[in-house]
């Protein structure tokens, strides 16, 4: 949908708009809010820069890949991860906002896990960074919970036979889920650091296997 309204009323709050705001008005509205908050002593440019740096440079799916590669390489860690993912990740210096209580769900030969937030866009930030648009927008959220097998095949090219149980985890609370994928066959000789690049975020969300 791309409905644009020529009757944009700048004096109405964004939440009271019926139609999307003209795209070229969004920077000004954002700055207006920032300027007011700076004036009230509730915001600083340094704070904005610090927060954005954390999520654009420091926190990304690479952290989750490190967790998975470590679990593949170390059976004790894998057990710890499956029993208490929050603590296991903390032991690697990983954790925090939107991942205060994490659960790693394990793929097996007969079970495939996939994560969604049908109600909004909840996502395990500490291990995966910020979610991609396709995860947050309505199409995935609407369909994955009803037709996971079809969605995984049509959108993601993952063709799972009916013998594989598909578990869809709808993140409706503050608990954050991510998938522990199976270690690919033929990687037995790879070191942990060589395994890391194999762990794409699609595997940890569950739209790849």
């Amino acid at each position: 949908m791309n409905a644009r309204n020529n009757d944009y009323d700048p004096s109405a709050l964004v939440i009271d708009q019926i139609y999307p705001i003209p795209a070229d008005k969004l920077p000004a509205r954002t700055k207006a809010l920032e300027e007011l908050l700076i004036g009230h002593g509730l915001l600083t440019q340094e704070a904005i820069d610090r927060v954005t740096a954390a999520y654009e440079q420091e926190i990304s799916p690479l952290l989750g890949a490190q967790v998975v590669a470590h679990a593949w390489s170390d059976p004790t860690f894998k057990e710890a991860l499956l029993s208490d993912a929050t603590e296991a990740c903390r032991s690697l210096g990983i954790g925090g906002l939107q991942g205060e209580y994490m659960v790693a769900v394990e793929n097996t030969a007969t079970v495939h896990n996939v994560v969604v937030c049908t109600l909004c866009s909840c996502y395990p930030w500490p291990v995966l960074g910020l979610p991609p648009k396709w995860y947050k927008y309505p199409e995935y959220r609407a369909q994955i919970v009803m037709h996971p097998r079809l969605v995984l095949k049509q959108t993601f090219g993952l063709d799972l036979p009916p013998s594989v149980e598909i578990r869809v985890w709808d993140s409706s609370s503050e608990i954050r889920y991510f998938v522990l994928p199976q270690r690919p066959s033929g990687t037995e000789d790879l070191s942990e650091s060589e395994l890391i690049p194999l762990v794409r975020r699609e595997l940890m969300i569950g739209v790849a296997r």
Binding site: I15, A23, A28, E34, T118, V151, F156, D170
Partner: protein
């Protein structure tokens, strides 16, 4: 609330626009809005449940037609006004000022600790558990049925899973109840359970075989299913 956000099972939205790689933010204003939310919620001006419920109260046309971070802008503005942090009139005035001069810059600001406190918050997080004296009502493998309720306020029981039977698969700590926390009616913590619903139970004749959905549900959403 039976709003547009409660979209599990909705049909007719078209294909998922899957892209393997994309920038984290498409526009600079999105980046600013993201940081704004962390800064505002990080200072306790509003809570996560109020934040989510603001988005839920957007008009469906607006919700479906706008970019994701416009949802965040909507709820941040609304919560700042509702909390008494900003007034609508000062916001209007400032919006007019920046709309008439888009090249206007922001005033400089002396940080004195906010940046560091947010930097400290990010790895620490803000866990919403609150211990209660009662024991959990349900135990593992109990069969439960979700309530048939349609609150006009915030809830985390999606419509597709109301009046459905499932099985308790995990018992989590007692967490702040979003339904009341979103509306200044207190935290009312309650145990959260992971409940398993078969695809068949949720979608009937339209279900794919061998699929199931796991939802995290607060105790008050559930009844023991005899």
């Amino acid at each position: 609330m039976n709003g547009i956000h409660d979209i599990g099972g909705f049909q007719g939205l078209g294909a998922i626009d899957y892209v393997a790689d994309e920038p984290i933010f498409d526009e600079d204003w999105e980046r600013q809005v993201f940081a704004l939310h962390v800064a505002m919620s990080g200072q306790g001006i509003y809570n996560i449940d109020q934040f989510r419920h603001g988005i839920e109260r957007m008009h469906p046309i607006h919700y479906l037609g706008s970019p994701y971070y416009e949802h965040w802008l909507a709820t941040i503005e609304d919560n700042l006004v509702r909390s008494g942090t900003l007034t609508k009139s000062e916001l209007n005035e400032m919006v007019q000022r920046f709309e008439s001069d888009p090249d206007l810059g922001l005033s400089s600001s002396d940080d004195s600790g906010l940046a560091q406190s947010l930097a400290d918050l990010i790895p620490r997080g803000g866990w919403t558990d609150e211990a209660i004296s009662e024991q959990p009502l349900f135990k593992l493998d109990d069969r439960v049925k979700t309530r048939n309720f349609h609150p006009t306020g915030h809830t985390r029981l999606p419509r597709y899973a109301r009046a459905k039977s499932g099985v308790i698969k995990a018992i989590y700590p007692s967490l702040v109840l979003p339904d009341t926390n979103a509306d200044n009616q207190g935290t009312n913590p309650a145990y959260v359970y992971n409940v398993e619903f078969s695809g068949l139970e949720l979608w009937g004749d339209s279900a794919e075989s061998n699929t199931l959905v796991r939802l995290d549900l607060w105790q008050g959403y559930l009844l023991l299913d005899a």
